[in-house]
Assembly symmetry: C2
Homo-oligomer: 226 residues x 2
DNA sequence: CGATTTTTGTACCATCTCGCAAAATAATCC
DNA sequence: GGATTATTTTGCGAGATGGTACAAAAATCG
């Protein structure tokens, strides 16, 4: 029940002991933690993505994070709070790789290809099976009943819509799309394509097929002529 | 704990007592059932759609169906089997309304409009909140871990793809689409649109917005010019 | 060193979980 | 009517579940 049996001896923590711990916490007072909250949250996220909220027990989480129940509770709150924090972490991670692609300068087609390739990497990763999109999974399960979670999911969905919309708007300005193109409608199709590969990845549709779907959708979106 | 307090006195069962019960079962031998398997399965489906597999307990199912646990077990098997039977029921129901639309003769645009309207009806129904698409919900949750369920989900996904593809193929033959149109790629977009509204409906996106998404997607698919 | 503070580990609780066995009940068959 | 058959009902039991109390452990502070 330890994350790294030995007490943290500056093994692979980014910064520790010597520098003041990030935001002016000169020294922690009591018994040191046996876990690294960040990596524990990552493990929890992995589990939640694989099994969903309801099917994941505190024992599972305890085993995966290497923290025992009370520590889990103290660090993240109850199971629901941990789920929420896990989702936020997911958004940060997934968002970061997307933002990178949205920022760089490149032709529309290439940008879309990279976005979907990155999405597929995320959805198909996982040693025990594809983990899909956590936003989609959460939408399908907890979002209906839990207003706070629903709000986060909605934020995720509309965030993607907006990113795609601005992407198509830019492309239109650069003359990559005809004057008649509707960036908003295209963005919805782009998002829908994300959602469909997220769903299908969970049904273990092989990457080749997902890539074919993506290719077809891109062709339509950039107007290879339907 | 009864479905209809009084023993079945030919109240609303489709066919009973008089006619031989469907497939030559002249008379049931022992104590008569206090429940109607069909309506019980419907109730179970409702619950599963609302809460998902893991979050639905046998007690929930027992209360909803009006059958006590052992009866449930005897009629449908364990929870997983009941889930599978519920899913099959869902597919029958949802499929039926779709097939109807796919069969009738009408212009492509109108056909698509009707399909999506019907889908929205299904996804947004439910007294306690939108229930979404059971195929999508199941894909997001149980499909990864359970091969049998996954196979059913895959069947549902590809079934929709094929229906849409044949729909576009027909439209192309009738000259409603340009010669360059790719029915398969269009079908993927049509399915993706189904999936995106299924996801969003679970996040309680209002119907108006979903209809706007559908309209935009249809415009692109029938080639209003992107 | 002893006091303080923070975290850990064990153990526990009340509740719920699924599945099943045994007994009661209600119909048909002879 | 009695035997047979099928279903309902009650209730159990072994185990899992989410959450918490409490004492021991491990660090810093004075």
């Amino acid at each position: 029940m330890v994350q790294k049996s030995k007490p943290p001896a500056a093994a692979n923590q980014p910064e520790r002991r010597g520098e003041p711990e990030r935001r002016g916490e000169p020294k922690r007072r009591g018994r040191p933690r046996a876990y690294e909250p960040d990596i524990a949250l990552g493990k929890a996220l992995d589990l939640f993505r694989k099994q969903g909220f309801a099917a994941t027990s505190l024992d599972d989480l305890s085993a995966a994070t290497g923290m025992n129940r009370p520590s889990l509770y103290g660090a993240f709150g109850d199971k629901r709070e941990l789920y929420i924090k896990s989702y936020q972490r997911y958004r940060e991670e997934a968002g970061a790789s997307m933002v990178e692609i949205f920022r760089q300068e490149m032709p529309l087609r290439q940008r879309l290809e990279r976005i979907y390739a990155s999405a597929l990497d995320i959805y198909l990763s996982g040693d025990t099976g594809p983990r899909g999109c956590f936003t989609v999974v959460t939408a399908a399960s907890e979002a209906v009943g839990d207003p706070e979670i629903r709000a986060m999911v909605l934020d995720g969905l509309t965030g993607l819509d907006k990113a795609f919309a601005s992407c198509f708007r830019r492309a239109k300005e650069k003359g990559e799309l005809p004057e008649s193109a509707d960036p908003f409608a295209l963005a919805q199709i782009a998002s829908a394509t994300i959602h469909t590969i997220a769903i299908r990845s969970r049904a273990r549709v092989p990457r080749k097929e997902l890539e074919a779907i993506v290719k077809g959708a891109i062709d339509v979106m950039v107007g290879v002529e339907v």
